[in-house]
Assembly symmetry: C2
Homo-oligomer: 238 residues x 2
């Protein structure tokens, strides 16, 4: 993990529909707010498999993903790993509980993120209520993702869970070209941990979707959606 001294890139917390229509009428980040955020943050590059922070470590900062993808996971007493979230550009992570991080965050690819120390952030949020609303909307967004996850994990069939996972993924990677393969930076094992399935079941269910002609795996780390209609039908059919 290396810290770039050149803070040439501004956080783009606003790229996602940030507060747009969540009830509270909030606008996007202003140039001034981005500048303020930048002033207190550090740009960090992380190599693939690099750890950003570990579970239970004392929390000093929150992070905003800029490039690449991360996974957030928790180690369970049984030794199993439950993947809490996959993090993509513009995602906020590192919200702590009782001053400590609740999960470990690891880079899946070469990544870039912004590190925003808590002390100055709190000051900034206190002086700029509008920015506070922005953050709040972002966190509400996180909350939505978590609730969607619960719906996914409540499903019986592995096929259905994978279908939901893929459609969700497609929506999250808003910047990808249509009819091209989606990057799948995580391992099958990570997907299993995310969906609450065993690795073998993920593999089998994936193959089923391929056999059904809904998707294909150009490589193990990319998916191509062949029949979006039927895939979404399968996903919605909870």
């Amino acid at each position: 993990m290396t810290r770039d001294s050149s803070v040439d890139q501004l956080p783009t917390l606003s790229a996602i529909p940030f507060g747009a229509g969540d009830g509270l009428p909030v606008k996007l980040l202003t140039a001034r707010q981005r500048q303020d955020l930048t002033a207190i943050s550090t740009r960090i590059s992380v190599a693939a498999r690099g750890i950003v922070y570990r579970e239970d470590a004392v929390s000093n900062a929150v992070y905003i993903c800029r490039e690449g993808a991360f996974k957030a996971f928790r180690e369970l007493p049984s030794g199993k790993r439950r993947v809490t979230a996959f993090l993509y550009p513009d995602d906020l992570f590192g919200l702590a509980q009782n001053g400590r991080y609740v999960n470990t965050v690891q880079a899946l690819t070469r990544t870039v993120c912004f590190r925003v120390p808590l002390e100055p952030l709190a000051g900034l949020l206190r002086s700029d209520a509008e920015l506070g609303l922005q953050f709040m909307c972002k966190i509400v967004h996180e909350l939505r993702s978590a609730q969607l996850r619960m719906i996914i994990m409540g499903r019986r069939s592995a096929r259905g869970r994978i279908a939901m996972f893929l459609t969700t993924l497609e929506r999250q990677l808003s910047g990808h070209a249509p009819r091209t393969a989606l990057p799948l930076p995580m391992s099958r094992s990570d997907i299993a941990g995310y969906l609450g399935l065993s690795l073998e079941t993920v593999s089998r269910a994936g193959k089923q979707l391929v056999t059904m002609g809904l998707i294909s795996f150009p490589t193990r780390h990319s998916v191509l959606v062949l029949d979006r209609t039927r895939l979404e039908q399968l996903a919605k059919n909870v």
Copy 2:
């Protein structure tokens, strides 16, 4: 659902460890803030089974639970109901997406809650950044609950899920006397919807815990924890 004109009770958003140690150093609500909140909110009484708002309805306000318990649920295409959350005093609910509520909230008992209209709330949050931080911490708290839920639902065994549900419940009802029965205002079916199990499995797993001597059901709507140690052991053993 009736609106009381007498606004004699103040919202106690702060009763829960609100912002205490979440990294950002935030204090409890001041008298002034509670007063401001009260000024814009309405106290509402809801009879058991009364609906506070429905899924997809246009959102005008957020709510703070004061007395009693609610369930929040979503109707799935298959007709099944997934229970998103059980809401207890001091819980915040009604956060919308794209200006509409994402689930239906129904009272499980006779309840009292505060209705906080969005427009004035946004104004208040804009003028009082500190209050904004309070809300933010509250929402982060919600996020934690959602993440715990995901852990619960990831478990294989029904017994384990029920054990976690009960221990969580006990923690949420911070005001209950020890060694007394916990109120269980929701139906077995609601619990099933919450845990992603079938109603029958909830019933069977409950009976197993009774047979094991960990709990007992004085009535169908209350639980008594007999062996907290073993119950928590079962709960933690993920």
